[in-house]
């Protein structure tokens, strides 16, 4: 099968910019760079576009976070999501069906209430819902687990493969070359500046190299002599057979560390996390988590009992200590940029692609992505984001 947007010409020896990783981050960046006139761009991937986390995520999109840094970036992303199909001339099946973060204990309810107040201060559109209101939004939810929550009626989910294909094709139309089956084996740095990359298909010189390598980001950074303090963790998800529509919005639960939605063709898609991160770079699903996910989702949505599973997959995230992404230049290697350390990389891609492209083009990083620089991790200035649904270090939900 032809890969959407893949180059039909061989890999050349030099480009204005090389992006390592044809995931949603790398492709969104390539598209946005080309829109700004930087069209001599090659996107390299050892596998197929979206083969990593971009095709192995929960597809869910929201902006109701708790920190100024996250809410600013993700609200910009949500704004772009809502018009992305027209922008890319490709229906990415964005569904603005709403996004509900569910609270199941009085403490979580209070946390949600405080989050909404904070989000209003940050200029976000979100609302606190009571248990009764939450049950109206998701009538099938187990009432014991629905004591309240945070709701964004204009957030939702999109088709992750379609987003990858849409960006790849749109970038290719503007002249970007997507080369798959190319493994980067080294990053050439001389005199404090990046010179290009070495690959199994030859050396490619470029004054700009962007590390958008997802689960392999740390390895690529190492090649440039850059310390990227992240670690690779495995997340898993399940997909059921088609059933009658019963779940409108995207749904996340703080209690079960779970997130899920139902696609247009009726499949239920969901993932849960164990309290402690699963440090692994394996893409195998595990049987223990399969059982865990099935049990938790039947508890959350009792009508899933007896519904058969179609698929089960694992994907990788490369997460930093504060679980926030790492975006922007690297002080010690000029021309080398990062967009990695992503846990919410799918939902953050439209804004990050546009803003990082602007930053690379202008030489000054835009306000919204500046806080995510790698230096914050080296200097221990962590971003405090409290509204994530992901496994954190000490066995707590962060």
């Amino acid at each position: 099968m032809a890969i959407p947007g893949a180059a039909r010409t061989p890999l050349r020896r030099s480009y204005d910019a090389v992006i390592v990783g044809a995931g949603v981050q790398g492709l969104a960046l390539a598209y946005e760079l080309a829109k700004l006139g930087v069209r001599d761009v090659a996107v390299l991937d050892r596998s197929y576009p979206g083969g990593g986390g971009s095709g192995r995520n929960g597809e869910m999109i929201r902006s109701a976070f708790g920190s100024r840094e996250w809410s600013g970036l993700f609200d910009e992303s949500l704004r772009r999501w809502r018009t992305l199909s027209a922008e890319l001339d490709f229906n990415v099946l964005f569904s603005g069906s709403g996004y509900l973060v569910l609270a199941s204990t009085p403490e979580q309810v209070e946390r949600c209430r405080a989050d909404v107040v904070r989000q209003a201060e940050l200029g976000l559109r979100s609302e606190f819902v009571t248990g009764e209101e939450a049950r109206k939004i998701v009538p099938e939810v187990n009432p014991d687990l629905a004591l309240g929550g945070v709701y964004q009626d204009h957030a939702g989910f999109a088709h992750h493969d379609a987003v990858v294909w849409g960006y790849a094709r749109a970038a290719a139309r503007l002249g970007v070359e997507l080369h798959t089956g190319v493994t980067v084996t080294g990053v050439d740095v001389a005199g404090g500046a990046v010179r290009g990359v070495r690959t199994d298909k030859g050396t490619v010189s470029a004054p700009i190299v962007v590390n958008a390598a997802g689960g392999a980001a740390r390895r690529i950074a190492d090649m440039a002599g850059v310390d990227l303090p992240t670690r690779t963790c495995r997340l898993e998800m399940i997909v059921t057979e088609s059933v009658a529509p019963f779940l409108r919005p995207a749904l996340a639960t703080l209690d079960l560390l779970g997130y899920c939605h139902q696609t247009a063709r009726g499949e239920f898609v969901g993932g849960t996390e164990l309290p402690v991160p699963d440090i692994s770079d394996s893409l195998n699903g595990t049987y223990d988590l399969l059982l865990d996910m099935a049990a938790k989702f039947v508890r959350l949505l009792p009508r899933l009992a007896g519904v058969r599973l179609l698929r089960h997959w694992a994907g990788l995230v490369d997460q930093s200590e504060d679980l926030s992404p790492v975006i922007g230049p690297v002080p010690e290697v000029s021309g080398f940029y990062l967009t990695c350390g992503w846990v919410y990389g799918f939902m953050g891609a439209p804004a990050t692609g546009a803003l990082l492209a602007r930053g690379i083009h202008d030489g000054v990083m835009p306000e919204l992505i500046r806080p995510f620089s790698v230096t914050r991790l080296h200097e221990g200035r962590f971003i405090e984001e409290g509204a994530l649904v992901v496994a954190a270090e000490e066995g707590n939900a962060a």
């Binding site: 809502r82 018009t83 199909s85 027209a86 890319l88 001339d89 490709f90 229906n91 990415v92 099946l93 964005f94 569904s95 603005g96 069906s97 379609a162 294909w165 849409g166 057979e241 088609s242 059933v243 009658a244 529509p245 139902q262 696609t263 247009a264 063709r265 009726g266 499949e267 394996s282 893409l283 195998n284 699903g285 595990t286 049987y287 009508r303 009992a305 007896g306 519904v307 058969r308």
Partner: protein, 479 residues
């Protein structure tokens, strides 16, 4: 002419009790224990389902018995998505077809196929891309069409809620009870190993259960395939060191060597020290317009229908083949009273003739069947059932239109290697190494082996030998 075969010349059959069941308001009859899909076919029901997107009619005959194709998913007693080819008829059940209105025979949604030029693959990514509101509305309509009326029955919920059967350790798990799997289990058990044999079928035997043709035995003799595996299955059932889990599916092979098995009584979590994958292979379809029409069938499914269920696929068959197996199936069809309209082989006369020799000893021509060598298929005719096949000589000069109600395709096989592929990303196994003919070194970790069709070995006698060798080798292996 009745499709039921009486007095089969090669395969014995003890016809079970005749039972009635309700099919979309009508009462039909079949024989207890035969697949529901077979009972429907014998009763003249050709369209068993409609395809997901274009609502094209689909019928019996692809990978029957190993439900990896969606063609015969039926709603039985209210439970949707039940594979009719792997569900025995009990009598008294209510059977409906799915994804069609007002019926699968006259499905109004079938119009989608007539306008397929306007809804090509991926059309949804082009639809309403400039109008988010319309896109959202379209998405909700799609949801109702795709998942509508698919409700789980209380019975299915109760089955899902059964407690698991717990964990079991075993020295060797053999997945697949065909010739290779049975031979492996017996060889290992004879060497003193405790073996659990997992098999999807009602009883072990695999594809050879439907083979009436001769298979070479290890002692140099010959015996019909079904008799050979029946003998092996009986030995395995009686062997004190072999436990056979029939009607059971290995759900996956997970990290840590966990092998959950879905048995009729619930899920049993096996932790085998050694694993032998003998999951067989799939018949491969050929690509031509109309290759999914009801009546276009694959050779293995046809054998199962005539030799196990004793039901003819139809009355007039065209057999399209590129291997000896297709000629064997053609001869078996003739033996149960199906007219062979023509034998079509894309290869030249010499090669095709050589493959035909075993099944047509005095030549195809002498049997009165037209042998169209050097011909390929252009298209299948008919809508709700196949009515003919158009074939063309490779030099383009000659086009032949054949009238038939069955097209049998024998075009090679693909290993059923899903269980091994699941572990590709773990680094245990690499694609480059391949599994074909692997004798423990084809990229497989120690204690894991593959034999028979899953290893690309299609000859039954060779699969049998390989199973015995691999079973004995695993018995000698220690962790």
């Amino acid at each position: 002419m009745n499709l039921r075969i009486t007095g089969h010349p090669a395969a014995p059959y003890a016809r079970a009790r005749r039972v009635g069941f309700t099919f979309e308001g009508r009462t039909l009859h079949g024989y207890e224990g035969e697949p529901v899909a077979t009972a429907l076919h014998a009763a003249g029901v050709r369209v068993l389902s409609r395809s997901f997107k274009y609502h094209r009619p689909r019928g019996i005959g692809l990978t029957c018995g190993a439900p990896s194709c969606p063609n015969c998913q039926l709603t039985i007693d209210g439970q949707y998505g039940v594979p009719g080819c792997a569900t025995p008829l009990r009598g008294g059940e209510t059977v409906r077809r799915e994804r069609s209105w007002p019926s699968a025979d006259r499905d109004l949604f079938g119009l989608i196929d007539r306008f397929s030029a306007f809804v090509p693959a991926g059309f949804q990514f082009r639809l309403f891309r400039r109008s988010p509101r319309l896109a959202h509305l379209a998405e909700r309509v799609m949801g109702l069409v795709a998942g509508g009326a698919r409700e789980v029955t209380p019975d299915a919920i109760a089955r899902a809620a059964r407690p698991g059967l717990g964990h079991r350790r075993t020295a060797l798990a053999v997945v697949g009870g065909g010739a290779a799997g049975l031979a492996a289990a017996l060889a290992a058990a004879d060497a003193g190993m405790e073996v659990i044999l997992v098999d999807q079928g009602e009883e072990p035997g695999g594809t050879l259960r439907a083979e009436t043709g001769p298979v070479r035995t290890p002692d140099g003799g010959q015996t019909p395939g079904f008799a050979l595996v029946a003998g092996l299955a009986a030995r395995a059932a009686a062997h004190p060191s072999i436990e056979v889990l029939a009607g059971s599916t290995a759900l996956g092979w997970y990290e840590g060597g966990v092998l959950p098995v879905h048995t009729p009584a619930g899920v049993l979590t096996l932790r085998p020290e050694r694993l032998l994958v003998a999951t067989g292979d799939y018949d491969q379809p050929l690509l031509f317009p109309g290759n999914d029409r009801p009546g276009v069938m694959l050779a293995g499914a046809v054998q199962r229908l005539i030799n196990v269920d004793h039901v003819r696929p139809g009355h007039r068959a065209v057999v399209v083949t590129a291997d000896p197996h297709g000629y064997a199936v053609a001869a078996q069809l003739r033996a149960v009273g199906v007219e062979i309209v023509a034998l079509v082989d894309a290869r030249g006369e010499a090669e095709a003739g050589a493959d035909a020799a075993a099944s047509f000893p005095s030549g195809v021509a002498a049997s009165g069947v037209p042998h169209l060598t050097g011909h390929t298929v252009r298209e299948a005719l008919g809508r709700r059932r196949v009515t003919g096949l158009v074939v063309q000589h490779r030099n383009g000069a000659r086009i032949v239109r054949l009238s038939c109600d069955v097209v049998v395709v024998s075009a090679g096989r693909r290993p059923a290697e899903e269980l091994l592929l699941q572990r590709l990303y773990h680094g245990d196994i690499t694609l480059d190494a391949g599994f074909g003919g692997a004798s423990g070194d084809g990229g497989l970790p120690g204690g894991v082996a593959v034999a028979g069709g899953a290893a690309g070995v299609t000859d039954p006698a060779a699969a049998l030998d390989m199973g015995a060798e691999e079973g004995a080798r695993l018995a000698r292996w220690s962790p």
